[in-house]
Structures are given as structure tokens and as C-alpha cells.
Symmetry: C2
Subunit: 308 residues, 2 copies
């Protein structure tokens, strides 16, 4: 028997109802009650949304556990979305239980959902935005974790208010990226593994130098924090920095516009994805035989479908 | 004055003509002469296509220089495509001159092109396939380099005959990925920085163990090589391994089918991209005002466009 899908029932019925709602949204995103509850949630944002990105192995999972603990200790409810990179061949999520929970599963104030980034067209898993919007209306903080360098690192700016980039001491790669353009993206940089001592300090100095090359976005000075998730060192500083950025967005009047821009971008990408799929359906058989040239076939399909 | 665009003129007029042809393909991919020359090139493959992927900082650029030198010493001509991850905000390529050339710019047997992976829809830069097809008809080897973990790592299988995954000793991340699913993708694994001694040996053993968990694709046993690009150590082994995989594909009769499958996949993705773009155009204004819900707007646009 399906739940009545409204924010009120989700609030009163707890995590199990939310999990079922997310499954329903994935299965029937176009149903009227799904669109209704998402629209209701979109208009009633409660949480600040933080996005955390960085290469695998940098220590994001440990850091997330620390953040969740810290927020819970402050009495805040937390929802977390872990976006898994997918293996295209197998279609499955790579690291199913990537976030090892140190939290109490009975705690109604913590909700965690893993999503496979299996849809290449949407960048982030196409359901990430819907899940975020719903969670944003129900919790105090939403945390979205993405793995990767390149595309997914930039995708998180489309869904988070505050983007945290994690970099690792001694891995020249992150710095290379910082210097070359990704320096524009994060609002906070976390240098992990501060237990590496001098190496970590040097990494921090390098990042600060690299950040100096990029413009400070609208007066926000990007903090570069040294963290040791293992030793729970610096996690409080990170929470404070996220709160400071949240205040900056609210006080500066940037938040509503930024969120509307993200939603409009999602709309454009969704329209593109939907009609792309429809185009493939209308094109019919797209296999190639013998010496068929894919370039000529594309040109033929385009001509045929544009003049029906 | 435009060149006459045929394989014959590209062969006789050298690298300058090829560079101009690639620019023309990017600018006017639907022009008849562009489709003609691409179709001609598609039907006359000459090169084996190797794709190299792995996280930034792993040493791919140095390795590529080594490979190019090695192939040139064997009398082979080489074309190389370096796909740069893009900064979405700036739209530019991140690491413009990422591949530092140790080759003679006057050497007509080496051609290098950097491409920005700026099109999110196509995964790899949408022109990568066209450039590959053209180069494949003109050179003895085509080498495509992509950076990244996750999406772009798997995209390269859509364009290369032989996929080489580079991993770095001591970075647990690569192993995590190997174990979790990307082990299905590479045909050759290169453990770089063999100068790290015991750490490198252990990394190699770990990778061999991880590969053991995945099925051996159609009888090909994935070699795991220890390389030191810095010391030019093992590059010859890599060349030999690529040749062995090329022979395996040809002798087993897999090559033609695999390439046709890639081309068909490209065709489907191109149709999807093209019609997605057309859908956005037809949808008209997609901005959001006030409390407009993006979810309701998507549903309205879909309904409106499907019943014109």
C-alpha cells in the first residue's frame, strides 16, 4: 500500500517513508504526486546543502563520518547522498558501501543514501537533484559526496550551496588541477591527512598560492583548512567554515538566486536528456552493417527526422 | 582558400593540412565534404588505436613521450590526441600544454592534438571520434590520452582498441577502483614509478590480485607491467604488450566487430545529443521565475512538445 506522498507524511513517518519515497521518485518521476511533493519541497528549503568532492582515497568517507558526528552533536539533523561512480560495462555502483557508517542506524536524525552516477547524460545521477530537493526540505544539513577528477568535480556545483574540495598532501595532481582552473570551483578547500606534518603544511601553502591565482568569487575568501579526519582534527573548523559560507550566501542575498540558477540548469539538462532519448527512439534501428559510415548515417537520421 | 578535403590530399600535404582539416571538422561537422572524408577514413583504417587513462599525476605524459620515441625508433608514424578535462565555468581546457613534447616538431611522422572534453553530453569530447577516425587512416599508431577517474576512464573504451590503465604505487584509490569494477576495463595495466622499488612491486602484486577477481575478457590475459617513465624503463615492454593485444584482436577476429560496435555506440550518442539540443531549442524559454517548480516545468514542457 503506497504512502500518501506529502512533506507532512514524510516528516511524521521518518526514514523508512523517505527511503520509499526516493525509490518511488526513481521509478515514477513523472507521476503527479511525485511532481507535487517535489514542487512542495522545492518551495520549502530548510537545509544548507554542502557538496564534497575530490579524488578517491583522499579521505572523504572518514571526513563525512566526522562531519555527521559534529553536526549531530550540535543537534542538527543530517541527510547524506553518496554518488558512486559507475562501471559502464556492469552498470552497477562501484563502491556500494563506500561510506562506512559510524552512526547509529536507529538515529532518525541521520539519513544516508547511495546513488549510482549511472546516467552519463545527466552528469550527476539524474535523481540526485530530486533527492537533494526532498532532503533539503526535511533536514538541517544535506551533504552530497561525489568522487572524481574532472567532470563530476564540477557537476557538484550544480547541486550544492557550498562546495568543499578535498586534496591530499604530496599528490601533485590536485595542485595541478587547482592551478589550471578547478580553483574557480570550491568555496572551501580541505587538505586532508594533516598527520603527514610538513608535507601537509607545504600542500596547504601550495593550495593557498594556487587559489591566489584565481579570482575571489564575489568577496568570499576561500578558506584552506588542514584536516586530519583520522584524528578528528579540524572537522570543527570545517563545520564553522561551512556555516560561515552559508551566512555569507544568505546575508549577501546570493542564496535564492544561486539555487534558482541551479534549478534552471537542471531543467535545461533534463529537457535535453528527455528529448535526446526520444530522438533515439524515433530514429529506430541505429546499428551499422558492413561498410556503413556512422557519419553518413547520423547525417541521414538528422535529415529524416527534421523533415517528417 | 580551403584545401580539397580527401585522404589523398591529407596524405600528400602533411601535418598542416591535417590540423586545418580537424579545425574544419570541428566547425562544420555536417558539411558534405567533411562527411565524405570521414566516411572514406572510416573505411580505410590503418593504425592500431591505444587509449591511455589514469588519474592525473600518475606519469602519463612522460610515458607518452616514451611511447612516441619508441614507436618512431621502430619506424612507425604516431598521432596522439590528448583529451583535457575542462573547467565548466571557464569552458576552457585545463592543461593546455599538458604533454610536454620531447619530439621534433619538424617530424612529419608525429602529430599531436589537444582537445577539450568540454561537451558533457558526449563523454569524450564529441570530436574525439572524428579526429581518431581521420588519424587512424593516416598513421601507424593512434594514442588517445584521457585524464580522470570514473566516467572518462570508461569513455576511452568507446574509442580505443587497446585500453591501458595507469596506476600509481602507494595510492590506494586505484586499487580500490580496480577491485570494485574498473578491473573490467583495461587490456593492459601499467604500474608507473617503478623507481619506487618495493612499493611499486607491492602495487603490482595488488593489481594482479585485483585483476584475478575479474573475468579475463575472451581469453586475453591482462598484463600488469612495472614502468618507470622517468628512467625509460619498461616502455619497450609496454609497446610489446600493445602489439600483442593488437595481434590478439586481429587473429581472433575481434577487431572489426569491436570497432563497428564503437561506431554504432557513437552514432546512438550523437543522435541523442543532437535531438536533445533540438528539444531545448523547441522548448523555448526555460528560466524559472519566483516559485516556479522545475519539476512541474519539465512535465509541462514534455507534455507540450509531445503533442504539438
Amino acid at each position: 500500500m503506497p504512502d500518501v506522498l506529502t512533506l507532512a507524511t514524510l516528516r511524521s513517518e521518518g526514514k523508512g517513508a523517505l527511503a520509499r519515497a526516493l525509490t518511488r521518485i526513481e521509478k515514477a518521476p513523472d507521476d503527479t504526486d511525485v511532481i507535487d511533493v517535489l514542487s512542495e519541497a522545492y518551495r520549502a528549503p530548510q537545509a544548507h546543502v554542502a557538496g564534497m568532492t575530490g579524488p578517491p582515497g583522499v579521505g572523504k568517507s572518514t571526513l563525512i563520518n566526522g562531519l555527521i558526528k559534529g553536526w549531530r552533536a550540535r543537534g542538527k539533523t543530517v541527510a547524506c547522498i553518496a554518488v558512486d561512480p559507475s562501471s559502464r560495462r556492469s552498470g552497477g555502483a562501484l563502491l556500494g558501501d563506500r561510506i562506512r557508517l559510524a552512526t547509529d542506524p536507529e538515529d532518525q536524525g541521520v539519513f544516508i543514501r547511495s546513488m549510482a552516477a549511472r546516467d552519463r547524460l545527466g552528469g550527476l545521477a539524474s535523481m540526485t537533484v530530486q533527492a537533494m530537493v526532498l532532503m533539503r526540505a526535511l533536514f538541517d544539513v544535506v551533504l552530497i559526496e561525489t568522487v572524481g577528477v574532472g567532470q563530476s568535480e564540477t557537476d557538484v556545483i550544480g547541486v550544492a550551496d557550498t562546495v568543499i574540495l578535498c586534496v591530499q598532501p604530496g599528490s601533485g595532481d590536485s595542485l595541478q588541477f587547482m592551478k589550471a582552473g578547478i580553483a574557480e570551483i570550491p568555496h572551501i578547500v580541505a587538505v586532508t591527512k594533516a598527520d603527514m606534518g610538513a608535507t601537509a603544511e607545504r600542500a596547504r601553502a601550495d593550495v593557498v598560492g594556487a587559489m591566489g591565482l584565481s579570482e575571489v568569487a564575489g568577496g568570499w575568501q576561500v578558506p584552506v583548512l588542514l584536516l586530519s579526519a583520522l584524528q578528528q582534527h579540524g572537522v570543527d573548523d570545517l563545520i564553522v567554515a561551512i556555516e560561515a559560507h552559508a551566512d555569507y550566501l544568505k546575508d549577501g542575498g546570493h542564496l535564492v538566486g544561486a539555487r534558482r540558477g541551479q534549478a534552471a540548469q537542471w531543467l535545461i539538462e533534463s529537457v535535453r536528456e528527455r528529448f535526446g532519448r526520444e530522438g533515439v527512439r524515433r530514429a529506430g534501428y541505429l546499428g551499422l552493417e558492413g561498410e556503413d559510415s556512422p557519419f553518413r548515417r547520423l547525417s541521414e537520421v538528422s535529415r529524416r527526422l527534421s523533415s517528417p
